[in-house]
Symmetry: C2
Subunit: 341 residues, 2 copies
């Protein structure tokens, strides 16, 4: 690799002079600068970016923090898809994208500290939002540029966040089951600490209440955003005395687990039980029956979050904003008129 | 954030002295060093990693280069899965992982140049291997640490690469079709420039020849490693005068496209036509019919490549090696005895 020393040799100046030319030091004459720059070009010398970053204070990199367990997260097609959205913007802006690989909350926190204190990245996108999150509080305290996909707990006007209107989406998809004649509808969601679950569940609950339907605690099941989570939920579901005829499931991958659990139990979807879901990841079109689900425009969530973050890193005074990405229901084959179990 | 100036103020020394303590400059007395280090600890000062990297010459980051079009690549579940494998190792070793986001070959090449000249990363994993690849040649010329998932064209003993035995896998899965009675077997694969396609196809061809079966050029179809690629292949397939009864498809996502294309054309798998595939991504279990496919242990390919790269970055004299990850056929429901079309 061509070094500063090689450039110095070729131009007959000291290596320190070459460094000063790179830093555009006014003490160096224009003639020397031109000579050195010509040699750099001819030799194919590229100034070291680590050194350059110290001057311009930009790493041209953004950090992307996956929810606890990157390993598990990447099993859910939501994450590759949102990374595609982020990547489409980092690509245009010539930024690189650094992924967290922490598994426990402790490890993720340590990683984010390294990113911030180490000036690895200009800013951070958090791909989750939950109650009293250490990472979020830390970034906030340090006044480090970050955006959230989801929404912050407090200071909602102080943190830029990119979200769907999950409450309305939850209400609309539940109303679709109600309109097709279902009266006993259960909700299956992820951890109660995640805002996405809370919002979708609140929408479900409002729809059920407004329609005057049965609204009991045992119809609300919480599990993991994974296929295994869906299978666990089926066990709970089958143990209920009065089973629901409709299910609102807050994640497509979870729906996949529910489907295979029900299949094993000899229960047919949509004949015996109807099912609606969220996200519209590509597997919702592939599985049989294909899923009626809320398309939350994952790619756009990613792209908008990257755009907002890069704006923020370029100008820290950029005001916080809430960006709502629209949703729409995609009707497929997992719902039938009032299936009775 | 605590700065060098804050540390200098607290200890009553010049900021330049604090910098010299961080660089462990021998001109600074042990007493001063201890005083400054104590203050750094108390104030919670973390030296800037960009600065530190200049000294220790490690970024504790590795670059991961996706094949041209990261955007398209991430649609194939192969890539999130291999990232999980890489992430499991970077996590243990406390490395971060930087993804390429280039779309054209030109852009990817520019990105890799930035990574190398800019000392963004300690080493690079290439998640593809193809003939006369500029990126590969560049890394080789620069003697920059890199490993390949797949295999290099030339200098096979000089570059560490992590691969399956795709030739044998191709032969075995084709033999499975032959053993179930198929005599007209076609191959559908990605670009002929990709080694993975070439190797799997060579295995297919050898099996077909050894069994004394029809081996014609029109039974070899090349398309994209995507669902859309599979659908395109179906058109070619349906235009053949004598249609095959068995298909060897070199990628599960492509198989998904073939399945939906055949379904639209009213051709049933496995009744009318049998199909075997490669990779065993999770969708091969989900789709109907589920796919008989070669499990290539994607997670392990990722983990082994990260381990080999990090070894190489720590010790450049580490000899190049070929790591072969084992494969096995997973039998499911996409094959039936001698389906005739």
């Amino acid at each position: 690799m061509v070094t500063i020393k090689d450039v110095a040799k070729a131009t007959g100046v000291a290596p320190s002079t070459v460094s000063r030319v790179i830093a555009n030091n006014p003490r160096i004459s224009i003639m020397t600068k031109e000579k050195v720059r010509k040699a750099m070009k001819e030799l194919g010398y590229h100034p070291n970016v680590s050194a350059r970053n110290l001057a311009v204070k930009s790493t041209k990199a953004i950090g992307v923090v996956l929810p606890s367990s990157a390993d598990k997260a990447l099993q859910n097609p939501f994450f590759p898809e949102i990374l595609r959205g982020i990547g489409s913007v980092t690509h245009d802006m010539e930024y690189s994208m650094t992924l967290s690989s922490g598994i426990t909350e402790e490890e993720i926190f340590a990683e984010v500290q390294r990113m911030v204190y180490g000036s690895y990245v200009d800013g951070i996108i958090l791909l989750y939002s939950r109650l009293n999150d250490r990472v979020m509080n830390f970034l906030h305290d340090k006044n480090f540029p970050y955006v959230i996909v989801g929404k912050p707990y407090e200071d909602i006007d102080e943190v830029t966040h990119i979200d769907n209107d999950n409450f309305t989406a939850g209400k609309e998809i539940t109303n679709h089951l109600i309109e097709t004649g279902h009266e006993r509808i259960a909700f299956i969601g992820g951890s109660k600490e995640l805002f996405v679950t809370m919002d979708r569940e609140a929408g479900y609950q409002t729809a059920v209440k407004e329609a005057g339907l049965k609204n009991c605690e045992e119809y609300k099941i919480h599990t993991e955003f994974l296929k295994s989570g869906g299978r666990e939920a089926v066990e709970t579901l089958l143990s209920l005395k009065v089973r629901p005829t409709g299910l609102v499931i807050s994640d497509d991958l979870m729906s996949l687990g529910v489907l295979s659990g029900l299949e094993e139990a000899g229960i047919s979807v949509p004949h015996d039980i109807s099912l609606v879901s969220f996200n519209n990841v590509y597997l919702s079109e592939i599985i049989r029956p294909s899923l009626t689900t809320v398309d939350i425009h994952i790619h756009e969530l990613g792209a908008e979050s990257a755009k907002a973050l890069i704006e923020k890193t370029i100008d820290k005074s950029e005001p916080a904003k809430r960006i709502t990405v629209p949703h729409e229901i995609v009707f497929r084959n997992s719902v039938s008129k009032r299936g009775a179990l």
